[in-house]
Amino acid sequence: MNLHSLTAHALLDLFKSGKASGQEAYQDVLGRIKEVDPKVKAYVRMSSHKPDYSGEFPIPIALKDNLCIKGEEITCASRILKGFHSPYDATVVEKVKTSGGTILGIVNMDEFAFGSSCETSCYGPTFNPWNLQCVPGGSSGGSAAAVAADEAIWALGSDTGGSIRQPASFCGIVGLKPTYGRVSRYGLIAFASSLDQIGPLTKDVRDCALLMNIISGHDERDSTSVNTPVPDYTKALINDVRGLKIGISKEAFGEGLDTEVRRSVQDALDLLKKLGAVIKEVSLPHTPYAVATYYIVATAEASSNLARFDGVRYGLRRQPALLRKNALVDMYEETRAAGFGDEAKRRIMLGTYALSSGYYDAYYLRGQKVRTLIKNDLDEVFKGCDVIVTPTSPTVAFKVGEKISDPLSMYLSDIYTITANLGGIPSISIPCGFSKSGLPIGLQLMAKAFNEETLLRVSYTYEQNTEWHTRKPKL
């Protein structure tokens, strides 16, 4: 029986009626992985543990290589963590295990989540199931590709500047970045602590709600985790947007936006209007500064978060052949030179620079202040509307190798997604069309903090009135 191409909710129905078992589902997905992963290359290592199928939701799941799993090698797709076996489970991993989730394996990402294409991974790139010449997006490229290729029923990724939503949009699936603090970060190997969130990548909106139910909630091990009750997100799946106010920011539809993307997004807005939503033009005037703000604040935090990768306690250690400064400093410098890829080095240097003496005020502090301006823009807009809609990405998936030598142009592909991270608000990407070349286009929705339900409702309504989510890549 073909179980691998089903959604989690469809599988759960089958489990309930006894027509299939958790074990059968797991085995079937493994079979699919064997069949197509040599082409897609979503997985970096398979789980070394035998799953327990007896739980409530024995859904085969893929986990991004930055989520700590006890007893597994976790590397953030970096040489510097090769050989590191985590002695503890991330909170979300504990929750997945408690819910009965069966872990298939660990999927690829951009090294330390630095990237929008999954090309900076030390394992080499993952390929877009819709077109193997193209990138799946990043940094959760492996998670998105696995779900799109039915190599996992669903997956977890992380989003700091768009790393769940952009790959979801490139791969034609659903990806949600929760409100900051909604999901515990304990066990997520940090990129930018004030921006990171773990979130679901799923085949449809119902699955997204189900997985959100599993991973959300307060964690006393994460000081930034919010202590508010978790609603049943599946209750938000209502096919009705009448009277809902949708804002479209004029800044989002300027130049640089691919024509086909623009058209698909416009069509989506027209449909939502037809279904009863009210569309209004809004302004987020500081949008043009979002990418710059992000690349100061996020890299500054990252440069500090990555200081612990130094060859002292775990992971890689290297010593140069000849003594340079002294054995210890040499070890630090050689380990980090050998262990980090170029993009990681760039970001660490940029972040170090932004925090360095004499530059802190001009860069980091200023960046934090502009962040306030961006938040204020959002607060203002949400006074008059329920969701803000933009394209997820200015383009569809680009070719492997196309942007990798131009870091700045790669950074600009985050232009729509970054705002939600800076504001700490929830944001979802859902499929809303395809380019003529057959590549998926994503629609992004943002809502006020802790309003995932609104996002799910609008997304569900849109999805129920379209069939993008039923299409599968030909592999």
């Binding site: 953030c76 963590l81 066990g187 935090e301 002292v312 306690r313």
Partner: protein, 486 residues
């Protein structure tokens, strides 16, 4: 002609600031739930958080925050109503995250002071700030093997850093400040303040400037002083060094120096990187804290009576001498013991004498503190009463105390067992006295002819005959009567 050195010295004023790091005695570490314990085998009190494993996050220990507020209040400081934590970034093997979580611009307390008594004068020393931070691990260097070993048990131990204003003017003042501060901190009960165990550490900043100048001279930072005495010696050495350099036309280089106790000198640190760029920025993994007035008031109400206030009260309430009050206040346990004893037996001076004498001797010989001594205030008071009533001589009483502590028994039991009860019965004593008089006729004559001091000799003889059990006062009385009547 004035000695050239004296001339130099009188031209310059010394300016000293001290940074004290105090380890708190909370049960768990500052940002994780590992045990906060000294002396365990390496890497046995560690968890993913304090090891700095990837993906881990800090959560602040409530008690650590309360202790920091306590310290701030005890130092007459203002408790900030908004506080936050910051990352201090640098690389060292004992620093697992590659940064230390500390406080930069919004520490728990600021603008405090404490009064020290130095060279018979009172002086106000400003406390610039007190803040919370985490301790690093322990590095042991093995030169022979060419390696260093890291133990992370100590990582994450809560620290309070107390920084003075540069108000100290003499190494002696620095020494007095440290003792005053230590006593206050001991009274608060938040740390064992033991420099040997490393729960109290001190770094010093020192500079000199021409008398009358307000601008500060170039300062050097001194580390690696393992006792208050070492701090004083190091400062004395360094001040002389500053003077010599300047007197010979040189300039002081701002640097960090290590005190070498053996060689009694300060030595430049070999590490080439002197000026760290710590790249401080707000710790994103910890949320900020607002400290309510109510929280501060609750802590204030629970503060114990501090040494200075207790000293003043002891003088007036018990009529003690400054010397006795100093001795009792110098240890919170002693002071409490004293007061409990006085409550049971209202003879403050006598109790103070016993504590300053025999009790203190026992504590020193046994290397314990009063809390560890197997003696309750009631036990002591029973013994003192027996001495005062004449049941035991003062001298014997000290032996009784020793026996009580050795065997963990009460005074009465020991006295009975050792048969130390003084003989005060007249008839028994007279028998001894008559013997002594008979054996020492010459001395008796001396006494009769006007040398009353020789009486002491007879008393001594009688004491010997009674194996020390005779009540000397009684003996004195009876011998005198016997001699004058005969």
């Amino acid at each position: 002609m004035a000695h050239p050195k004296t001339e130099i010295m009188s031209q310059f004023e010394t300016v000293i600031g001290l940074e004290v790091h105090l380890q708190l005695n909370t049960r768990s570490k500052i940002f994780c739930s590992c045990a906060n314990q000294y002396g365990c085998p390496p890497n046995t009190n560690v968890c993913p958080v304090c090891l700095g494993l990837p993906g881990t996050l800090p959560v602040l220990n409530h008690q650590a925050l309360l202790s920091a507020i306590k310290v701030g209040l005890a130092l007459n400081a203002e408790i900030n109503s908004f506080i936050k934590f910051d990352r201090k970034n640098y690389y060292y093997p004992d620093l697992p995250k590659g940064y230390q979580i500390s406080q930069y611009d919004f520490p728990v307390a600021k603008d405090g002071f404490l009064i020290i008594k130095s060279q018979s004068k009172e002086k106000r020393i400003g406390i610039k700030r007190a803040h919370l931070e985490e301790d690093a691990g322990k590095l042991v260097h093995d030169n022979a093997q060419g390696c260093s070993l890291v133990d992370y048990n100590r990582t994450g131990t809560p620290l309070i850093e107390i920084v003075t204003e540069p108000d100290l003017r003499l190494p002696q003042e620095a020494y007095d400040y440290l003792n005053t501060l230590k006593l206050i901190l001991q009274y608060l009960g938040i740390s064992d303040c033991d420099m040997e165990k490393g729960s109290l550490r001190c770094d010093a900043n020192v500079s000199i400037r021409p008398m009358g100048q307000t601008a500060l001279g170039v300062k050097t930072e001194l580390k690696n002083m393992n006792s208050f005495r070492a701090v004083k010696l190091a400062l004395e050495y360094e001040v002389r060094r500053h003077e010599q350099v300047i007197a010979s036309g040189g300039k002081i280089v701002q640097e960090t120096l290590l005190w070498n106790d053996e060689k009694a000198m300060t030595v430049t640190m070999r590490s080439k990187e002197q000026a760290h760029d710590y790249r401080y920025f707000p710790e994103p993994d910890l949320v900020p804290f607002t400290i309510d007035k109510k929280v501060i008031d609750d802590v204030r109400v629970q503060l114990p009576e501090l040494p200075q206030a207790k000293w003043v009260r002891f003088l007036s309430q018990y009529g003690l001498s400054a010397y006795d009050a100093n001795m009792l206040v110098a240890d919170a346990g002693m002071a409490d013991f004293f007061e409990a004893a006085v409550k049971a037996y209202p003879e403050a001076k006598k109790i103070a004498n016993w504590m300053a004498g025999p009790v203190l001797k026992e504590l020193n010989e046994r290397h314990v503190s009063i809390d560890q001594l197997k003696l309750t205030p009631q036990d002591l008071v029973v013994l003192i009463a027996k001495v005062e009533d004449g049941l035991v001589s003062n001298l014997a009483g000290k032996d009784v105390l020793t026996a009580m502590l050795d065997g963990g028994r009460g005074a009465e039991e020991v006295i009975r067992e050792k048969g130390l009860a003084q003989v005060s019965d007249d008839s028994a004593l007279l028998m001894i006295i008559d013997e002594v008089i008979a054996q020492n006729a010459a001395v008796v004559d001396q006494i009769k002819s006007g040398k009353p001091n020789a009486l002491g000799f007879l008393v001594g003889q009688a004491m010997k005959k009674s194996a020390g059990r005779a009540n000397p006062k009684k003996l004195n009385e009876l011998i005198t009567r016997r001699i004058t009547h005969v």
